[in-house]
Symmetry: D2
């Protein structure tokens, strides 16, 4: 690739926007050429407008870049979107209509029948929906591709190899989610010190409906959703990054703990075969120590792009249970969108 | 009662021992007359030997009391025990043999066939096991009564009225447990800052086996365990006091969310009927806000003696689900033992 | 007192407003009869409008009370104000002009020459400024009395007996301040997890100027400020309630650690002499353990109304140093205002 | 350098030992060839014996290495020591006597008159003490070199350029120290949740005496300590890594905030001139935002090897004040020792 793909970021100053900038620093295929945020930030430099909250320094190239509002035109080939759901719906459609591929981390279009809910290791073939989407909406060059909710993507990566090998019938998950999942300022410190909050608005519904689309089959121009049920109870805990999930599953075929671990450890998908720049070498890492995974120690394994699984064991009510961990602002948000874009580029969609 | 019952505490300097002292300060029926701890503390004053960790001051009456080792004789009518399980087995038996009623918070004897695992609201009639225990072990005056594990007791209080009304078939629980459950020094700060630990040694097994005994029937001199299954996944989170539990249940009879709430709110047992000093007015409190219960805000409701329930709703895999909270060192430990002793006194066993 | 004084609260739904309600529950002299908040809350019930954040339940009597905007008339004899400084200036003056004694926790009028900055143990005689204030401003019945910043009041209580006995020449203080000092939502959780923030906007200036007025002399109708200098470095730490302060002082007279402790422990003021309802028995408590005071363990001593001092020792650069702790939303805010009102009532100003 | 220097680690399984291993992974000059820990770990593999607590994975090369006890012989050219002070004194001497250069992070020998307390940017010439040490103790090849306490080194780096330019007369410092400074398990979680602990055993004395030796002059075979006084108040706060220090200084010459910043930013020493592998490009980094430095955001600047300074401003009692941050287990411990070894290698002492 002689020339890099030029990238714009919608919602550049937020928590996920900052992760986009961090992860795109020195990216081999993409370079950031445009940044957009709310009207309040218009024409200000990124360094002025952004309250940078990541523990690595703000890259120098972004400091002086000027912010525009979230409107076309934008000086770029594709846009990454991490807009709040109150805005994302209309804005993303206007960019797609204007010819921009929109790689979105927002929830608005995830469940639309003609929009891929893409996890490249699992359902790379879902990108064929793009043509149907463009036809149906009469868009020429632009389109919308989404990645799942941060809790869902970590779960889906662990479920995919199990579903393929043994067939999933039911999934129960109880989550312990990180603060960064709520954005910034997000959760008030007084609400979480010495505390757990057993409610995250809208989250359970997403986790209970997205996995079936992700693990669905692309048939006759449509996604046929997988037929298992998911029950989710979502909690906020005092952790900066990294969602922990206690998962219990019921399977269609009999199997063993050893076989479950084997299929998860051997799981490989298109990103691994295509050697995409952000692809983890193993999308699912299984730890053997009985007290892992732990967010502070394990969230950065595989650069935050894998699901880390531990404590795989039998269950007395359903069939098996395990704990998993996913980095919610890397594989659960910005990293997921970047991997989606890398797949789209490799497949000629960009 | 003209004269107070004289109480000794085994393990007086530990976290639960401190709660005993705090909760027995100005108790109407009991007065602390003897304290025992490890040999390291022998003959030292309580104020010297104890690193007091509660946010209320150490009561003045206890400061100068002298510590003895955990051996008979002890200058008291009954003993409360919160010894570590490595010691509790033999020590508690030696006290019972020597004629002391032992009200234990330790796990060693909980599952013994002739030892009550007592939650007075649920199974007050189990105290009849005491006569069988004394006969079988040839103990004259002494005996052992236990209270459940801290996670179990909070769960059992919520399950009891449901089981009575609708019959429980299965229980899945994912816990988020407080630091004080591990004692002192317990969990290292570096293990829990910005973290969740998905493992608590031995805990899941206790939660999966104790509820069936607690909700069992006393028949023909034996406890016939309830026949439901429990699956538990236990996690440590960065909370000082108060275990949160995400519970999902399968029932034998059909019912509704409204009826579930009703039976929990109306639940009353022997402690309420007998107006025992430490009895909560409602053993189960149901909160209606969608983001409750929360440990920091709700653990002290009913002086820490009730299970606080919230988010009661239907489940798509089993039947119903809800979140509960219990104060693990009050109703989950010292307060449970004191309520047990109050019941035993009211029934003439002390 | 046959009838209680009727109290209105300006800013009733905020963190300090909630403390007013908690502390006035069952108060012997005051009853809350009116509540005011922002226009957003107008005509809503307190239970609806307030996101209650205290670990004791919202009192039942307040749940149904209706909120009005912060304008006269209010159905009460006096008002407590905990308005943000953007509003407090004009609103408090309008209430005072309309005849209400305004007992304010806001910073706006603290340094006005005719407004008492009242700490009843230290400068009860400053209330004589009220007459001068009323005369000057042509107010008949109403007036404004303020309490200090939360960091200042804890410091001033410790300094007062030392200043009286030995004369203070300079004070250096480095603070570690609690989250509740920033109100709600206040500090974002992502800003304080695993972190310290070495800046609190405007705080250092308050701590460096208020103590001299508090410890000043009322002479010829004016406060003559004390002549020592204060240097403050203020930090936010991950603590819910309780400001910790590392203090170093230079004195005018020679003395010893033992004498310093003695004057602090013996310190008594008008609230103790008058036995005001909220008065701590000891305004300054000195702990002898070398690792105290600690916010979680000591902030509730004396019901949060005292300054807790520890580690009194010599300093090699100035003269002496010690650590102190004050409960920032009790003695540092709502409790301070209530004690001020109790003094004013006892002295016939209400 | 054709062959790497072979390194042994005393205390390899502890918090600082783990940092040594992490920082020596792929080091250009050193390779780890021997590991020693307590007798409990003897002959076990590192992976078995060590409870790894760092957020990067344990390097593969160390997993199978066998642990020996802390006795000579050890298969290495030099040893790094992070032993507890109860052991370090005798063990380090025995290694030096046996011919090993001992690069120690322990406190035992820091203040010995013939042992360099080395901060290479400040006092590289102090390594000439080694010859005097060897002569005096009749050691042939071996010697002991120490690095300062973790709080001291961060402070000394900021003070050095100021002292050189303007002469320091007095330093007051109030610290907010990280949990990792106490090792593992170290601080109990119940002691620090929602809390500050205003005492760290032995710490204040170290901070009050080490800087004068570090900034002292090597004259006539001795270190002549600098003549300023230091007053330190040390606190533990709920932060994993990174000590924050509020510093106030009195200077011999007049200067300005701008000049202070200039000398700190321009500070360079031997490690920078020699381009040592672990040398930060700037030993002191000055941040201009008014709410920095913050441990979570800034501790990893310059790979944890620099002192990060912020809020430089005038003081009303002494002359100037500022906040600084140092990574306590990198520049404050393992990284400091490694930089010392790099200097010694460059100067021909290894």
């Amino acid at each position: 690739m002689s020339k890099k793909i030029r990238v714009g970021i919608l919602g550049a100053t937020g928590m996920v926007g900052q992760r986009f900038i961090q992860l795109l620093d020195n990216h081999p295929e993409f370079e950031v050429t445009a940044l957009a945020a709310s009207e309040r930030s218009e024409a200000r430099s990124f360094a002025e407008a952004c309250s940078w909250k990541l523990p690595t320094p703000m890259p120098n190239w972004v400091r002086g870049m000027s912010l525009q509002t979230c409107q076309t035109p934008m000086d770029c080939d594709i846009v990454f979107s991490s807009l709040p759901s109150s805005m994302a719906g209309a804005v993303e459609e206007s960019f797609a209509q204007a010819g921009y591929p929109v790689i979105s981390n927002s929830s608005n279009h995830r469940m639309s029948v003609d929009v891929p809910l893409l996890v490249p290791e699992i359902n790379a073939e879902h990108i064929e929906l793009i043509k149907i989407q463009q036809k149906r909406r009469e868009w020429k060059k632009g389109y919308i591709v989404t990645n799942p909710n941060c809790t869902t993507v970590a779960l889906a990566l662990a479920l995919a190899p199990i579903n393929q090998a043994f067939g999933i019938e039911a999934v129960m998950v109880s989550t312990m989610q990180a603060l960064s999942g709520a954005g910034y300022p997000g959760v008030a410190s007084l609400d979480i010190i010495d505390n757990v909050v057993p409610f995250i608005d809208g989250e359970e519904k997403k986790v209970e409906s997205e996995p079936q689309k992700i693990l669905g089959q692309f048939e006759n121009g449509m996604i046929k959703a997988a037929d298992f049920r998911v029950s989710a109870q979502c909690h906020r805990v005092n952790v900066s990054d990294g969602h922990t999930e206690a998962v219990t599953i019921k399977l269609k075929k009999k199997t063993s703990v050893a076989e479950l671990i084997e299929v998860m450890e051997n799981f490989q998908g298109e990103p691994q075969r295509l050697k995409l720049a952000s692809a983890p070498s193993h999308p699912v890492v299984v730890l053997k120590e009985n007290n892992r995974p732990q967010p502070r120690l394990d969230r950065d394994l595989e650069k935050g792009m894998a699901t880390i699984v531990g404590r795989v064991r039998e269950d007395i009510i359903l069939d098996f249970r395990f704990t998993l961990l996913g980095h919610n602002t890397i594989r659960g948000a910005a990293g997921a969108a970047i991997l989606n874009a890398e797949l789209l580029a490799a497949k000629g969609y960009i």
